[in-house]
């Protein structure tokens, strides 16, 4: 195996934070591919630029996603990375693993690829980094015959992802892991066979803390919430005070709706004015608990700034019950896809299409009535449209 001098990368083996260079070099001990990745990366650090060619078309027969083509632009100098494709393996919901079952994937990856991974990619899949084209079919057969499958890429439903939810979090209002798994299984065809104008992402968070950042990076954000009051255990509130918490400054004073008060003995919440932001609950988890009906808020449209600026998701359905098999959610999703598919140009995300066509035509198409929870404030201009049905006086 070729030995590369790596004076620049060596600098990144020093220091207390885990070193990715050490990881690359561990894999390079036994893999020519990983070894040439090290060589090419050192050159990138010297020249301050990457040496990868754009995409290319690779994949497994019948699927249009799950593999991202990647070729070195210096294949003669670094033959090990001439092909260096990514294989996305769909993670189990919540990213829990039984060790044997993950070892199976590792053994296969040592055999068929570079031995390098990303645990995990930003969407949630396990990312196997660095594979030759001819390894794709046999690797796919090995992986699927052991009960695993590829995730999404391209203009498809991307691998849904979720927070840890009910598995280990007292704040989960919905079964985020089950919803994630159910959507993934129900829509396998949309994950693997790109049929849409562009990508579409679901992310499911059990509460408004939003540990999967669903509100910022999912076309459809599903966020758990509740409808009842917050139950207060006054004895435990006293314990927090005794332990040194300044309840007036840290809890009451930071409540965004000003709906709490504390007289040094009793913590009172004016529940009707609470917006369920999770601040107080997250700071006093032993004392405060949501009660009553649970469900999810459905928000739509967030994306990174490309092309016309970043968007956060917008509330469209303020409250939806979430019980298996999640029929209401699926019916809504299917209507959303249909409208989007009919109205989008290639590479337009749902949020952009709603901006272009107007929230009203979107809401009408998916059959959701207007509600004040959908907006921060009503419009400030007098330029609005009336349709015939508005004039002919149902209202």
């Amino acid at each position: 195996m070729k030995k590369y001098e790596t004076p620049l990368l060596n600098e990144l083996e020093k220091g207390p934070w885990p070193s990715f260079v050490k990881e690359l070099k561990k894999a390079a001990k036994t893999s020519e591919m990983a070894n040439d990745e090290v060589g090419q990366l050192e050159k990138s650090f010297r020249d301050k630029r990457g040496y990868w060619k754009h995409g290319g078309i690779v994949g497994v027969l019948g699927y249009g996603g799950g593999v991202i083509g990647r070729y070195s632009s210096l294949p003669n100098e670094f033959p090990g990375v001439a092909h260096f494709h990514t294989v996305r393996i769909n993670q189990p919901s919540g990213m829990f693993y039984k060790t044997d079952s993950l070892r199976t994937i590792l053994d296969l990856w040592d055999e068929y690829g570079s031995g390098l991974t990303n645990m995990h990619g930003s969407t949630g899949d396990m990312v196997l980094l660095g594979c030759r084209t001819e390894a794709l079919e046999p690797l796919f057969a090995e992986v699927t015959s052991r009960g695993w499958d590829l995730g999404g890429s391209g203009s498809a439903l991307r691998t849904p992802a979720c927070c840890v939810g009910k598995a280990r979090c007292e704040w989960a209002n919905i079964d985020a892991m089950d919803i994630c798994n159910d959507l993934t299984q129900t829509y396998q065809d949309y994950v693997h066979r790109p049929a849409w104008p562009y990508k579409f992402k679901f992310k499911i968070a059990g509460c408004a803390v939003d540990c999967v950042a669903s509100i910022a990076r999912a076309d459809c954000s599903i966020i758990g919430t509740w409808k009842g009051n917050i139950a207060v255990d006054q004895d435990v509130v006293k314990d927090y005070a005794k332990a040194g918490m300044n309840i007036n400054a840290e809890i009451v004073g930071m409540c965004p709706t000003g709906c709490m008060s504390y007289d040094g003995k009793t913590l009172t919440i004016d529940d009707e004015n609470c917006s369920r932001c999770m601040h107080c609950i997250s700071k006093m988890t032993k004392a405060l608990r949501p009660t009553g009906e649970r469900g999810a808020s459905i928000l739509i449209g967030s994306k990174a700034p490309i092309v016309v600026g970043s968007l956060l998701s917008w509330v469209i359905v303020p409250f939806m019950k979430m019980e298996p098999p999640y029929t209401e959610l699926k019916e809504l999703a299917e209507k959303i896809w249909e409208w989007w598919d009919d109205n989008a140009k290639p590479r337009e995300r749902i949020g952009e299409v709603i901006e272009l066509k107007g929230m009203r035509s979107f809401l009408e198409a998916i059959g959701v009535p207007p509600q004040p929870q959908q907006v921060l404030a009503p419009r400030k201009d007098p330029f609005f449209f009336w349709k015939d049905e508005d004039l002919n006086g149902k209202k």
Binding site: G55, I57, E134, S155, P194
Partner: protein, 82 residues
Amino acid sequence: MEKDELKDKIFEFVQAAKGKKKLKEKDIIKGMAEKTGETPDNVKKAMREMIDIGRLMYSYGGGSSSVEIPSEEYLREKGLIK
């Protein structure tokens, strides 16, 4: 229409668009349903069968996916031609 005949028609349709327009699944389903009078569902089924055996393939460029006729290189790599 016989399925095989439909498949041949789909192939011609995709071939005609080559280099002119990147076809998405929907373009093929809509276009062929109009052309042949078949139901969109039948067109979709036929198209999918063609993709499954490598007579057509999914392609990808610039962030969006399309359906194309596979290159020789692709067919060789999948063991579909020697």
